[in-house]
Subunit: 328 residues, 2 copies
């Protein structure tokens, strides 16, 4: 059986994660990495893979079954997504929640025009967490859903700290507050403020001679990012930051509690992830959905999709018969 030919667009943490995930799926092969850098300058792990400049992406039209877009949601994907969906089946991890409807519409128009399948917003949130929200809410119609993130590194918050004067480097962890998680699990459906759900732990390397008290104050008072949270700031050396905080763990919980019947029987549905590597896990989800896109396209389907539109059986290497026999 011929393998599903995967292309990667954008070779950062997620791109490398996709490369590693493809290695672990025997029905797939990585055939090309597309980049906006000088392709020769990009060092990839796999031998025999084409490195192609983004401007030449259409030369891959007959060589790639599914493109996995690994660019950022802020500026890369809104432009790239619809362009690529016109010519390739594609998967991305678009995660700017507020702009999903608009982005979906753009990809849908392009993908329908090109008769391609584009599955957007794939990963774990949006992605696996969204799936757990929809399943849980469809079953327990009356109830409350809670999402907690962490403990894990937030790139956005780390970047915000790095932009402060006198800061050389920084890592920020989002940490769910165990007491809030327990209150939710109890089924009491509490109303929780932002501050009650998560706290923020910052590890900061200051420039020599910088005003640490001012840095700490600036972080803690930063609107949107930190002001609404209990935030701790710990100053560390560059070496310490590298040694202790260079991994990218993450995770979180989706919990729905609700009731059924006339007597109000209570139920708790909980989904949790504990991830050593956020980009490698996200990439593994992307690759599973690439299989679904390939199958849908082969079946004549086209247009934009999200995880809500994909039957779970399409994600598995196993046949429908095997799945019914072995894991149903």
């Amino acid at each position: 059986m011929s393998k599903i030919r995967i292309g990667i667009v954008g070779y950062g943490n997620i791109g490398r994660g996709v490369e590693l995930a493809v290695e672990r799926n025997e029905d797939m092969e990585l055939v090309a990495v597309v980049t906006r850098r000088d392709p020769k300058s990009v060092q990839i792990l796999t031998e025999g893979v084409k490195k192609v400049h983004f401007d030449d992406i259409l030369t891959l039209k007959d060589e790639v079954d599914v493109m996995i877009l690994c660019g950022g949601s802020a500026t890369d994907l809104p432009v790239m997504g619809p362009e690529i969906a016109k010519h390739f089946n594609m998967i991305d991890s678009f995660d700017t929640h507020a702009k999903i409807p608009e982005y979906f519409a753009d990809v849908d128009t392009a993908a329908n025009e090109g008769k391609k399948v584009g599955i957007i917003s794939v990963g774990w949130d949006p992605g696996m967490f969204s799936l757990n929200r929809i399943y849980a809410e469809s079953i327990l119609v009356q109830g409350s859903t809670y999402t907690f993130w962490g403990k894990g590194v937030s790139q956005g918050h780390s970047d915000a700290i790095r932009r402060i004067e006198g800061v050389k480097n920084a890592i920020q962890y989002t940490v769910p507050i165990e007491e809030a998680v327990e209150r939710v699990r109890s089924g009491s459906e509490p109303e929780l403020s932002t501050r009650e759900k998560h706290l923020r732990e910052c590890y900061v390397v200051a420039e020599e001679g910088a005003d640490k008290a001012l840095i700490e104050k600036t972080i803690k008072e930063m609107p949107n990012y930190f002001a609404d949270y209990d935030t701790t700031v710990t100053f560390v050396s560059e070496e310490e930051l590298k040694a202790e905080h260079s991994k990218m763990p993450h995770g979180g919980f989706v919990i729905r509690t609700g009731e059924t019947g006339r007597e109000g029987n209570k139920h708790v549905i909980e989904y949790s992830l504990k991830l050593d590597s956020n980009p490698e896990f996200t990439s593994s989800v992307l690759v599973a959905y690439a299989r679904a896109a390939y199958r849908l396209a082969n079946n004549g389907d086209c247009g934009a999709k999200t995880v809500f539109d994909i039957a779970p059986g399409l994600l598995s290497m196993k046949s429908a018969e095997q799945l019914r026999k072995e894991i149903l």
Copy 2:
């Protein structure tokens, strides 16, 4: 908008649970209960619902959009399922794992003949647990999946005890062993024996003058049901059994641990349920899938399906646009 018209076939714990679940879904209404008893003798909770003998089920052909089959998997469903799928869209909770392929084939033939949709093996295991197995295995291709059940009442095991001479009544709880769950969560991918995963707690009401020591020995040595487990037997009065053990709680865990990348980063995916009422929760899942069956049939689809074949968006009362905007 007209409501989805639901029929219930078989009015026991699950049938009553479906009736209660339909009450909580405003896009549905219960229109008929089908029974093999004398319909007049069946007391149901909802007013204005037809009670129809099973032999007259075809009189409901134009009145019911989806039949929810609430009979047992051992003898009821294998006969009823294909018969009903020929004439009605239907959902069931067939859970004899070993016979799923055969049952699926029978329902598929009938449903295709009648141009109806039949979704089989819906509930939480098979059902939600199966979904979590397939998602987790499709993402973490290399890893191990574990399912734990409980703490909850097993009807099959309770019945087995009740058949012992001198036993008046009994309830059996399946209990996951916390130490095993913790070993699994650690990511060590342990090989666990049957005895290491679950224990069995039995509450037994003995007939007056019965040989309790013999009853306890008979339970503990019963092959398949108890011999492979650590089992506790507690004798209680009939009153105590009613007061303390008349609820039907259940739940459990599906945990997959596995690794990604070349350095073997570890990940833990965990799904858990904690249910006050096993039949009411199962019924709530059935009702959500009835919505999917209705939509698929309206869209011209037919044949047998399982939860693996159903896109999650079909389960929700919300439109695709709302889902993308609100919970993706």
